[in-house]
Point group: C2
Chain length 331, copies 2
């Protein structure tokens, strides 16, 4: 089936077509680029919500509770589940989750697990692209859920308009989260499993840590207690997320953020294309092996070798950007 | 002080000069590039050993025991300690470690903690550069020690000729390590804290997991039990690491690895320079804002905008690689 008809079918509501579009986009191949070009004008309407936190805090259960609540309110929901911590297994475990069953008969919910392999431009850009497809397909709210607390996770949830950090009662987690830098990016905090341990103390602790960061502007991140398994407090947490979105809109920040994100998106594509173009020219140029050998022998350093290759590739007749000319050779 | 005299002093054995050289290299500025150029011909003699594993398994204590043992054998030791899991705090905690005191009076040991910020080309390349400086400065054995089990850690320890994975007794860790993909890269395994829990079972478990991976070639990774705090088994573990190195040398693999690494190093510099050049031209070109606005409004997609910018920058009179000419404009 052609990309055009796939796009048409996905927009008409076919989950199979949508799944295939996402695969094309995820793989980063030229067809995926065509899909993104076709869908771009339709994107930008969904609420994007990033959800992260340490493993085992109940993020999936929370997102499920929020999804159920949003569905009752008539909203459609997309979920992108990303596991950056498993470079080799590719986050396959996420695909097995029970909840895939729960919502499988509801056409208003679309769940996608993302493997970590093969995202040449990085996991966060690939996540942003997948979220964009769901956005263009008309899902009202899109959750970007990621397991863990490293830089990769920070980047991934940064795709959201609002970033939610989920923790559980206990001193360690909040401090760990702070160490990993995720306290800084949280715009709403959830203390899940609040029926276990001293949840009030954890809330107090998070609130204190938030006060240590002076760069937050006018928004005070709410800290909400939940027991996601019995949906206790989950509506309050969702209300807190929605309040953050209203705050962004009221202060013109949502627009500014999205504008900045588009700008960053263009630069990311520029970087990736400039890099691919240079590598492609150099691989075709055939001098890499010789220079690598000289670098290995210590006769040349990598930086000088790279300069030689770049200068040569810019003068190459294969360079679409700069056909050869006498002027080039003199530069 | 000039870079040249810093290099001279570092090679003459000044730890202060060496520390300053490493800072220059770590920051990735042009002076750092000059340092790497100057030192490149001297590098390539050290044994590089990558050490990783989950937090709290005793990696530092192990590396300390190995360092003490190597020192008794008359070898000098460099230690690069990297903490990729703390994007914001920058791994500062590693800098505080007690062992900095232990070896501070021994000129045969140099310890460097690496922060995670500001490494534009990535943490693993920066680690490789710092290891190269220590190598050129004449340290016989260089440990690259990193906390955690994500993709960043896999990349960082991949700088080593031999990769050592440290675990402790208990089923969870080995399975976690496998999920995180580090079992695949381990060439020697240490089960530390073997006086606690069922160490033999963990050894059996690791051995079994290793059998699941058929792509290992002729090398069978040894699995060694240690109690690093009392130096039990640590010499056996070191012997296992040295056996791996002899295996590499005997099969011509060390040379092949290092050749491949130089090649990858050149391509990395090419990528980074091509990217920087494109971004620089585009920022100076002044059309980014206009195109970003059109992308934000949905009139243009990021990929097409990037193509426009790249085509324009290639034709720009500021491009050192491709001065303007009529031929260029027709392309």
């Amino acid at each position: 089936m052609s990309t055009d008809s796939l796009v048409e079918e996905a927009l008409a509501g076919s989950p199979q077509a949508l799944a295939r579009l996402i695969s094309l986009v995820e793989d980063g191949d030229p067809e995926g680029q065509a899909v993104l070009r076709a869908l771009h004008p339709r994107a930008g309407r969904a609420d994007l919500i990033g959800v992260t936190g340490p493993p085992g805090v109940g993020k999936s259960t929370l997102v499920d509770a929020w999804t159920a609540s949003l569905r009752r309110g008539g909203k459609t929901v997309g979920i992108v589940a990303v596991d950056p911590s498993s470079p080799f297994t590719g986050g396959a475990l996420l695909g097995d989750r029970v909840r895939m069953q729960d919502h499988s008969t509801d056409p208003g919910v679309f769940i996608r697990s993302m493997a970590t392999r093969g995202h040449l431009g990085g996991l966060a850009p690939a996540t942003a692209d997948v979220a964009k497809v769901l956005d263009a397909a008309g899902y009202d709210v899109i959750f970007i859920e990621t397991v863990g607390t490293g830089q990769a996770e920070v980047d991934v949830v940064g795709v959201g308009d609002t970033v939610v950090i989920v923790l559980v009662p206990g001193l360690g987690d909040a401090v760990q989260a702070m160490k990993a830098g995720i306290m800084e990016i949280g715009e709403a905090f959830v203390v899940n499993k609040a029926d276990h341990g001293d949840a009030d103390r954890t809330v107090a602790e998070i609130t204190m840590l938030l006060h240590l960061n002076p760069d937050r502007g006018d928004w005070r991140p709410p800290v909400v207690k939940t027991v996601a398994t019995s949906a206790q407090g989950t509506d309050d947490a969702l209300a807190a997320i929605e309040a953050h979105r209203r705050f962004l809109v009221a202060n013109g920040l949502l627009e500014r953020r999205r504008r900045d994100r588009r700008r960053a998106e263009i630069l990311r594509v520029v970087e990736s294309k400039a890099r691919d173009r240079a590598l492609d020219l150099i691989r075709r140029g055939g001098r890499l092996d010789e220079l690598a050998e000289r670098v290995y022998r210590g006769e040349l350093d990598p930086s000088t070798a790279a300069d030689e290759l770049l200068t040569e590739s810019a003068q190459s007749p294969q360079s679409a950007q700069s056909p050869p000319s006498d002027a080039n050779r003199q530069s």
